[in-house]
Symmetry: C2
């Protein structure tokens, strides 16, 4: 039997500079291992209330409905779609990378009708094209787009896109998985309606949770649904029975207790640093990395004005073997950088500078290791 | 601003003897805080392969498709329904507690037609009623039932129910959230088709993951679907691209790395103890608890032959205030026991003896604390 040979798993210490997970802060790892308590324990309920407030601060919102979904970012995405969409609803989906494509899949599986606005991978969503689509589809009720495309490193203008949507009576579903904590994201000021994120990027928490926030307009749409939400696990009206309400909380599912401790700790760290300081740090480390890459003769693929500081898509030079470089970085230097996704596989590396990974030491280490491996 | 007052959360050490989460083994908490590595790291992929094998051993199955879903047991349940059901499918749902009711909700939300077989809360599913329903509904394609009802403490005869289902050309969806690791569960021998479980019960891992296993008959039904699975996050064909396959694993979602370390460790501990020994330990501690409760004049509500050793439903004596007893146990003794759910709220306590919680010390502690509080 194979089983007899299996013993405790002890991972190596890696430096995580791919598209996520990012390096997890030691305080977050410590928080993870605090004693598990019950999901209806008054102490835990108190922690949940703090967690909501910390998330509101990170999202820059006063939205009452702000909490983490008990599953990864893809489930946060699905939570937005299954609650905001009803069969037959028309949705304009912006697709400038892998995650726009995943949004489209969600629309289809919810029985929605999708209008696709395509932009090249590695570019921001073009507001002009979006405006044309909104004009051509006055019956559309939703605009869905990705703020920070993890697959390409492109940043889109969420404020402008949301403004266009509202001018055409559409609400927005916005993917902020990679933007939260890393670049300016102002849910209230920009009037973003249904927003989801992830924990394993610029928050430097472990993967597995998806913070979401819904404003009043979004919740009004949810509350006026004619049909039941197709997912029981992701039905907001049920989830809110656990996360909201004065006094008694209704059991929905068993919350992932320890990962929620970790998220609370990660958000405390963000709060101590200050959100603006965190944005500034990501920008600064990106500038250092960019300068170092230039010295190595490496180019970033996204136009400067559309670049995410926390995810750097680097063109793989002619004649360099993608997989072998990444394998050497991992095996010889315990350094993870990301491969290209989809069309950019073999053409791009994705170097993450997210959360705790966005520090001067990591930038130097990554540049030195790349130099060694590329000059072999 | 409220936020300024929020600092790191440090829970008290509780003794968890409710319906789950159970006490988490210290080795599992330590495993949780091991360094996070990438979800496509070859080291992590190797750990995933071990995890599948350890889960097969725990489920007593050779099923290739055996892995944890990256979300709590409710998502594991939904994974079984959204993949096994197509709109219009007729499903016989056994409802003898809260989780049978949740299965019914899943059938409705998948567009299935449900035939309900009701049994009283606190009793096992009655195979005769199930046989009648199967005979009366020859067009049914699925039978769904809960092996161990966490809401009531009743154990049903999964082997007999599965046999009846197969005699009538139905496949089975079986909830083993509370049974896995605590009482005999033999997926292959009993021919259970689509099975889901949880990690925070008799495995004594943290909540947030849902082990599932699908046999060949179940996978054949999944592969012959005419319609797309309504969930992207829970679509087995996509999940398997990450968990299965020789060599390259396709990115689906970012796996919750550290909780998977924890599950691996919890399953190593189960393997070291031996599955049969674990069943035996749960049985033994149940007998001790039962004897002690009798001395206190407390009665178990489920008939002896249908009782779960790991979840003991205790009748609250006349004149005793439910909430105040539980609050005293929690506040004065850091001891959590569970309230009744639904109809049994205020009438029952649920005392869990699950996984690491099922030890002689916990039994004595719980009995002494109950004695103190009840005699005040």
């Amino acid at each position: 039997m194979q089983k007899n040979t299996i013993t405790s798993f002890h991972p190596l210490e890696r430096t995580l500079m791919g598209p996520g997970p990012s390096d997890v802060h030691p305080r977050v790892l410590e928080a993870l291992s605090r004693p598990t308590i019950g999901h209806l324990d008054p102490l835990f309920i108190g922690m949940m209330d703090e967690l909501k407030q910390l998330l509101r601060d990170a999202f820059q919102t006063g939205n009452e409905v702000t909490m983490p979904i008990s599953a990864p970012g893809s489930a946060g995405m699905e939570c937005c779609f299954v609650n905001m969409l009803e069969p037959g609803d028309k949705v304009i989906v912006c697709r400038n990378g892998a995650f726009g494509g995943r949004m489209l899949e969600n629309v289809i599986r919810c029985g929605g009708e999708a209008v696709i606005v395509d932009d090249p991978w590695g570019r921001a969503v073009d507001p002009e094209k979006v405006e044309q689509a909104l004009k051509a589809n006055p019956d559309a009720s939703l605009l869905a787009f990705v703020h920070a495309e993890t697959s390409t490193g492109a940043l889109s203008d969420a404020q402008t896109l949301a403004k266009l949507a509202h001018e055409h009576d559409c609400l927005t579903i916005v993917d902020t998985v990679t933007s939260l904590g890393g670049v300016p994201l102002k849910v209230d000021e920009w009037k973003l309606d249904a927003v989801y994120s992830g924990t394993q990027k610029c928050l430097s928490c472990i993967p597995g949770l998806s913070p979401v926030t819904f404003n009043e307009a979004a919740m009004e749409k949810v509350s006026k649904r004619q049909s039941k939400c197709q997912s029981w696990f992701l039905d907001l009206s049920l989830i809110l029975g656990y996360w909201e309400g004065e006094g008694k909380r209704a059991y929905h599912h068993t919350a992932p207790i320890n990962p929620l401790y970790a998220l609370h700790e990660a958000l405390c760290i963000l709060h101590e640093e200050g959100l603006e300081n965190s944005w500034q740090r990501h920008r600064q480390q990106h500038e250092s990395l960019k300068a170092g890459l230039q010295e190595l003769g490496l180019e970033l693929s996204v136009p400067e004005a559309e670049r995410l500081p926390q995810l750097n898509a680097v063109r793989i030079p002619e004649g360099v073997d993608d997989a072998s470089v990444r394998a050497q970085l991992l095996n010889d230097y315990n350094l993870e950088i990301g491969a290209g996704l989809g069309d950019s596989a073999g053409k791009l590396w994705r170097i993450g500078l997210m959360g705790y990974s966005a520090n001067a030491g990591n930038v130097l280490y990554c540049l030195s290791a790349l130099k060694k491996v590329l000059r072999q």
